[in-house]
Amino acid sequence: MLEQLLIFTRGGLILWTCKELGNALKGSPIDTLIRSCLLEERSGAASYDYTAPGAAYTLKWTFHNELGLVFVAVYQKILHLLYVDDLLAMVKQSFAEIYDPKRTVYDDFDETFRQLRKEAEARAEELKKSKQVGKPVSNSRKQGQVQKAGLGGDKKSNEGGLASDGGDGNAVKGRKLENGISNGNHVVSKESNVVGTANGKENTSSNLGAFDVNKLKSRSKVGKKTEKTASLDRKGSKAEPIKKITKKNRVWDDSPQESRESKLDFTDTVGENEDNNIEVVAADHGESMMDRDEDYSSESEAEEEEEVGKQSKPDSKKKGWFSSMFQSIAGKANLERSDLEPALKALKDRLMTKNVAEEIAEKLCESVAASLEGKKLGSFTRISSTVQGAMEEALVRILTPRRSIDILRDVHAAKEQGKPYVVVFVGVNGVGKSTNLAKVAYWLQQHQVSVMMAACDTFRSGAVEQLRTHARRLQIPIFEKGYEKDPAVVAKEAIQEAKPNGSDVVLVDTAGRMQDNEPLMRALSKLIYINNPDLVLFVGEALVGNDAVDQLSKFNQKLGDLSPSPNPRLIDGILLTKFDTIDDKVGAALSMVYISGAPVMFVGCGQSYTDLKKLNVKSIVKTLLK
């Protein structure tokens, strides 16, 4: 049974709910949907599962972008309601007809909805029946369709899956299905087969939003091929200008230069008996870069915009000069998927050249398309610039941290409670956990926070010594228990030690581990469970491309699955290292934040203790889109 159907504006005002259904929803599925799905640029997904104590819902939604409306259907998770997509599309269509921005009460829609629902339910009923009767026929039917798709593959052949989306909407769906995002996958396929048989006519079947998965697959493959060739073409033409700009706009390491040279070299001071001779460097490193104002040079901003314009020109030139000119003056009526496609493809390629994981670039473009489809294009604007603007907004939204990343504030709060603030550094091998732990320690020390290190990397030889060296340089107490000890226990003892020590913060270094190594992940999960740290910091290197997604999602998943506690701790924040080595390929930051939802708290950008920064969202977005 359908639990609830809501229509609300993007501003948040509920315009219409189904009073007949009237069931009070448990928890707040709608708010959760908006906060954790629609606002996270995941609206390209097919459905969203909401679970709360006593409730498990599946939510489906559709947008009407021109009017700024959102339609959400809620139903029990255990039920696979086949007609929801269909119903949403019909509701969208008929509600758009009566919508008036000034009106806020739509009581007369009740009747319409009742009818629509009956229709949809009847159709679903029919499906069920025909499923039992007419399977063999459906197969032959299906084959016919596949053949047709192979021959034509034309957009028009199955128009109207979603009333206003047109053929391209279907293509999108097809891709979505292929990706297997939701469990709706096989359900839909069944539905389509059966519908085809039940109502002999091609027309009705397509009206029902029935699409054959095979057909779509084959079609989307074709689509992908063309996509590829197109992107190749574009790459050829674009590679030049992109390179040119990127060289100019490098902003990551402008300030540190002066201070670094003199301080880089410590080796000479470490003599034979290192215990006495190690230089104490705690005070004389200057400010950590976390505290330094960064004057980002916006010098070439105008220039850059020009370049962007140049890049997008080839797109518009294809259509013929006059018609595009006319369009730009008159403003296009409504943006359709096919209009957006070239610009989105170009954008996706651009993101991927910036080292954004392919999967994420794809999802982002999907979501941007969903937010633009059906919108009116203003006069004197190009599609590419509209898409670019929407993407920029989306990127800023993603990268803006959801929670406060003011660690100092949290440290002070913990201090007031008389507890040490515990940070656990996790990550794969060789990303720079220990080095950046030392940088964080240095930064905290600069802020009059007493820090303690805990050497819980009891695995790799030399790890404890490495940390000990850092500790001695910074004059920070270190808690170590040698090798071959259980890291969870070492961490526990370190935290207990911190109190009498008077340390406010305990930085726990862990052994690097690959995300697929289950015993090690289990050990990490145990460490986190036993010690319940205030912050689990994932250390990831910025050099990583597609693997970033795998690393982070596996870490999160393993931490969740292997933890003995019912509500396990996941990754709270990200420390991005080796940021100075990547020039403009800053995509890893985006991939990581998107996949985990955790903010980038620090950015490591060099070799010395001072080279720790905060992420500058604006400059990242600028770099990504240029």
């Binding site: 609300f8 509920i14 708010d31 100092l408």
Partner: protein, 274 residues
Amino acid sequence: MEGFKEWKKQAEQWSSQALQQWKKQAEPLWSQAHEYIQQVPPTQIYAALAILLVTSVLLLLGRLFKRQKANTILLSGLNGSGKTVLFYQLRDGSAHQGTVTSMEPNEGTFVLNSEKSKNGKLKPVHLVDVPGHSRLRPKLDEFLPQAAGIVFVVDALEFLPNLRAASEYLYDLLTKASVVKKKIPILILCNKTDKVTAHSKEFIRKQLEKEIDKLRASRSAISTADIANDFTLGVLGEPFSFTQCQNKVAVAEGAGIIGEVAEVERFIRDHVKS
């Protein structure tokens, strides 16, 4: 006195001399221009004049239009605090059928609902409800330059769990350059006071001040450039209170859902003159 008069005389003399010189220089130029104008066909001159007039009128209109925008009142606060309900209460006098988390700002220019029955000309208010979701907060900056006042909505019912987030948001707001420089008044509205378990506004004010005091310690005192805040708050060495702010900060109670928004309306009318 005497010296001043003399100085004035001198200045006058000097200026008249300079003026005459100027006139001499300008005369040949003037005649040249005159000749040139006579050569040009009159239609062209009219066209040029017309264009000049139109652009200047347009510019003037633009100016006027901009000035009118100082009637903007912003509704801000964490999500779930009741901004959108408040917005529709002020606009229509009803919360309709409830609200969900906003994804876009709600904007509207209108005469407040309670004043519609009143006679006389009232200046419409431009009210903007900025979503409270932290991902959408940058939107606030777009509206700040035109703001005549900010209503910061706090959920008095679920106050303590949200205390830190709310005070962080408020701290950011209070230290924004545009807020401090233009001394934009802020009203902290303790919403949902119709519920029995809601906290009182005195309690909320004290808690917020305490939290902001701590924030000040963790943010501005030690680290100079950690955050993009442009100003330090209050007087150093004293516990923070809202009275130390350069802009006016008031605290009020209200309940959006049942339409108890009189104090907000008063605030709006205080700062958007009718």
